[in-house]
Every structure is written in structure tokens, then in C-alpha cells.
Amino acid sequence: MPDNTPVLAAGASGWVTRGTGPRSWPAVRFARRLVRDPRGAFACFVLVVMLVFAFVVPLVDPTSPFESVRGQRLLEPSASHWFGTDELSRDLFIRNAVGLRSTMVGGFLAVMAGWMMGILLGYTAGYRGGLADTLISRSVDTLMAFPGILLAVLLIALFGPGLASLSMAIAIFNVPFSTRLARAAVLREVVRDYVLAAETIGCSGIRVLSRHIAINTFGVFAVQLPIAIVNSVLIMAALGFLGLGEQPPNPALGSLLNDGRRFMRLAWWYLLAPASIVALLMLALNFLSDVLGEMLDPVRRGRG
């Protein structure tokens, strides 16, 4: 497949690559278009830096995020401690790195789990209709009645604070929206001829959904998923800040913000580092989702 798609795509969109170099792959062209937008370039740069910071630094840096060194309490940023130290004399650079990693991994997995559940429910509701649809839709309506982070807070009240229950809460938080999205997408597709054709030749419901409808509804999710990730990372940090996420001594972005808030009069760097990381990360994710949205959604292309 990858062999002939570039040719087709190139012909259709007027992108003719003449003799000088090898034909570029769709992924490469996509990345090039992404970076050409200043917001996209900024987002890619920040995200790469963040990913390196979160996933490479903890592997390379021998400093332990839990180790206290006597007499190094609340030190200002310096050559040996780039982000300073905290109230227990731990190095904040490595703690921020590990904290960012835990928030990123937790947030991403939670969104994926929530969306898988939501998409399954939405497909079922949209395709089966009837009682299944009523039950699922009404449940989703009820969950949607909880404003903002209230649902997540209520769920954590049930499970007890911690990274696992926070991720679970984020996953459930993602279910209502993805369910609605999937249901609406299926309802749009189900009336198309190709679905009728597939059903006529005897495809089972599961096959029609997974092989035919799923592919044609994928675009909707591709546009909305980045936004969901943005929101979930945000809620993850917010709930962590409220003390409902990862418990000490494990670092997470939210708990670093919380501790930094407590010590802000003594150590400005303690609060500023995680706050800037969250701010930059959210800025990058937002820009990325904007640019991706414009690139993937032809209606929004060139508007504004």
C-alpha cells in the first residue's frame, strides 16, 4: 500500500515531485505541513523537549528522585541542581522529569482506556438502537450532568486518592463525550449504501462495525482525540494539585505544584518549574490540536 499511495495522493493534490529526489511519503509530507505552521513548529519543538525531559532524562541522569542530601534543603537553582532542591533536599530537576513522565503516561493511558470504552458503547448504541441506545444514551446524559472536574472528584472520593484511581477517574471522565461522538458518527454512516451492501452480503454486526463503519468514522476521532488528551492532562494536573492524585513520595506534576504552592514564599523555583512545564505543555498540546484539526478537517481549513 505505501508504495502506490504517494503517487495517487501526489497526483490528486497537485503535489508533483519531479525527478530530483525520492517521492516523499504521506507521513513525511504531513509532518512538513505541520512544521510549516509556526504554531505547529512551536508545538513539535516543545513536545520533543518535554518527551526527552520526561523519558530520557530519568534514564540518563543518575540522580535519584527520592534521595535527600543533608544540608541541601530548598537550594536555589544552580549548576548542580538545575531546578533547585525541595524541602526534603531532593533534586527538583529529576523530580519534575519523573513527575512529568508519570502524568503523561497516566493521562495518555487513561484517555485511551476511556475512549475505547466510549467508542464501543457509542457504536453499540448507534448501531443497535432501541433499548441499548436508550440505556447508554441516558447514562451518558447523566454523566454529562456533572460539570467539569466534579465527576472525577466524586469518583476519587469513591476510590480513594492515588494515581490508579486518578487514572480510572480520568478514563471514566472521557467516556461520555467519546460515546456521544461515536454514536453520532455511526448514526451518520449507518444509512449509507455501503453499510446496506455489507449487511446484504451477510456480514455480522461486529464485522460491519469493525471493518466498514470504524474506518469511515476514524476521522472524527482523530480530530477530537488530541483535544481529549489536552483536557485529560489538564484535569490530571488539577486533581494532582488538589492532592487527589499520586501520593508522596512519588512525584507527579500536580503534587509538585501543590508542594510548590506551600513553599512559594521560601522557594519560588519550587512552584515556578512545574507551573512552567504545565503551561508550556498545555500551550503546545493546544497548538498541536488546533493545527491538526485544521489540517484534518477540510471545512476548517483556511477559515478565520
Binding site: R138, G148, L154, L158, G243, L244, L257, M264, A275, D290
Partner: protein
Amino acid sequence: MRRQVRVGRHGDHRGGEPSRMNYVLSRLVRQFVPVVFIASILIFGLIEMLPGDPAVIALGETATPDAVKAMRHEMGLDRSMPERYVRWLGSALTGDFGRSTTGKTVTDLVQASAPPTIELALVAFTVGNVLGVTLGVLAGIYRGKLPDAAIGVVTSLLIAVPSFVAGLIILLVFTVWLAWLPSAGRVALTEDPIQGSKHLILPAASLAGVIAAVVCRFTRQSIVDVLTNDYIRTARAKGLKERVVIMRHALKPSMLPVVTIIGVQLGGLIGGSIVIEQVFTRPGMGRLLIGAVNSKDYPTIQAITLLLVSTYLLFNLLTDLTYAWLDPRLRPGKGTRR
């Protein structure tokens, strides 16, 4: 049915008073009440599902079985779950949410913590929307020019950076570095307006910023869309001043989509104030809720969640009604019954 149509009781009055009342009532009965009802079951049921006997928790592990039994009877735990739910909801409707684990009644706790939150939400909501609409109209009028670009940059920043992180940063700047404003607590505006606003300005600004940014984006797009209409061209062609064109012809229709987004903002405002109160240590409902979650004070959690959910749904309903009132096409009795 036929007779009614002929007499014209339900069929054909256009936006008349009774039919609008019907619309309000039907929205209230068919959507608001059931969803609040189901949400209340959920809030009650989830907490009920928790492991552990509240009577044992209240008395401590060392309590004798007899004492636990007496306590269970006193707390009504020996009744069936539906019965307990009905009793809980019944007393909740009369404003009695039981006793918090701190010993005070939940109603007292909520009454003490509601004013700071309402104050914060009202100020943030008003400032955010006024600012957002004003900036949005400006950006829409000056589309593609410098003011538009400047406003665009500011709004993307405000939308992207979460309000509580922005709050933490301005907290650091204004209370620690510049030391202009107090960093914690709250003074009622009615008691001491100057001290009160000093405590209110930073949290309100962090919440208002996001609202203003979102509303501004919507207003701008809406103005831009409306300005492409033929009747705007007509208004300009007949020689009206641009100011009149905007104020008389473009503003009202362009506010339609904005009203929806203003309503949606309320959900964010409720969630946002929970976190923002924590950032600025403001003794409101958000702090009460988080404190209750950390100390497993379930009656308080139930009460606050139910209150916030009902408020949110009520405002959603009001938004829909405002929308129907502004947009004649959505009014009932014109073929678009919903």
C-alpha cells in the same frame, strides 16, 4: 385532538405566552427534573456502595456490637436502600443534608462556604463575558488587522494555559515577588469592599481570563459570519455609518451562538472555582469539597455534588431558554416542537 386544532388551543399560536410557558414547563419536566433525579440516585448510590460501615466509622473500631447497632438505627442504616434514598432526598429537598463527620450540620458548612464561591463565580462570569464580547466584537470588526492579531494571540494563550496554572503564576508574581496583594483567605465584599476586592481580584482574574478568551473567539467568529450577510451589505450600501451597521444590524444576531457558549462556560466555572479556591486558599465550596474528599466526609460530598450538579443543570436550562427567546426559529409552536 381534532377539535383542539380547530379551536386553536395548541396548534397555531405563534410564540404566545401560554405556549412559551408550555415550552419552559416541558423542558423543566422532561429534561431538568429527570436528569437531576438520576444524578441524585447516582450520587447517593455511589457513596452507598463504599465498603465500610458508616456507624463503625463514626464510633471507631473499638465500639461494642450493641453500640454499633444502636448507631445504625439512629443513622437509619437498618432500613432498606431505596427507603434510605427517599429519606435522604426528602430531607435534602428541605435543605437538610445530615451531619458532617466534623460534627457540624452539612447545611451550616455549605451556608458558610457558599458566599465566597458565589461572589467569585459572579464576578468572574460577569467580567469574563463583558470583556470577551467586547474584545470579540473588536477583533471581528478589525478582522485581519493589528487589533485582531493581538487579541488572537492573547486569547490562544489564555485558552491554552490552564486557569489554575495561570493562577499559580500570578499568585507567585503578585503576592510573593511584588507583595501587592494577600495570598490567602477572603473578606466579604459587603463588609469591607476594598479588602474584599484585594482578596477577590486574583482568583477572579484567573477564572475570568479563560471565559473572556473563549467568549471572545466565539464572538469574533460570529461577527465575522454575520458581517458577510446580504443585509449588512444593504445597510452599508444605503450609507449607514459603520458604527450603526455594527450596533443596529450585526450585534444582536451575532450574539446567538455566543449565548450558548456563555452557558457552557458555567460548567467550566464550577469546576474551575474548585481548583482556583485551592490555589488562593479561599474558603469556598470547592475547598469544602476537597477537604471532605480527603477526610472521607461523605454527607458533605453528597450535598455539594448534588448542589453543584443542580445549579449547573439549571443554568443549562436557562441558557436553552434564552436561546429560544433570542432565536425566533427555535420558539415552540412553529413546527419545530422539541
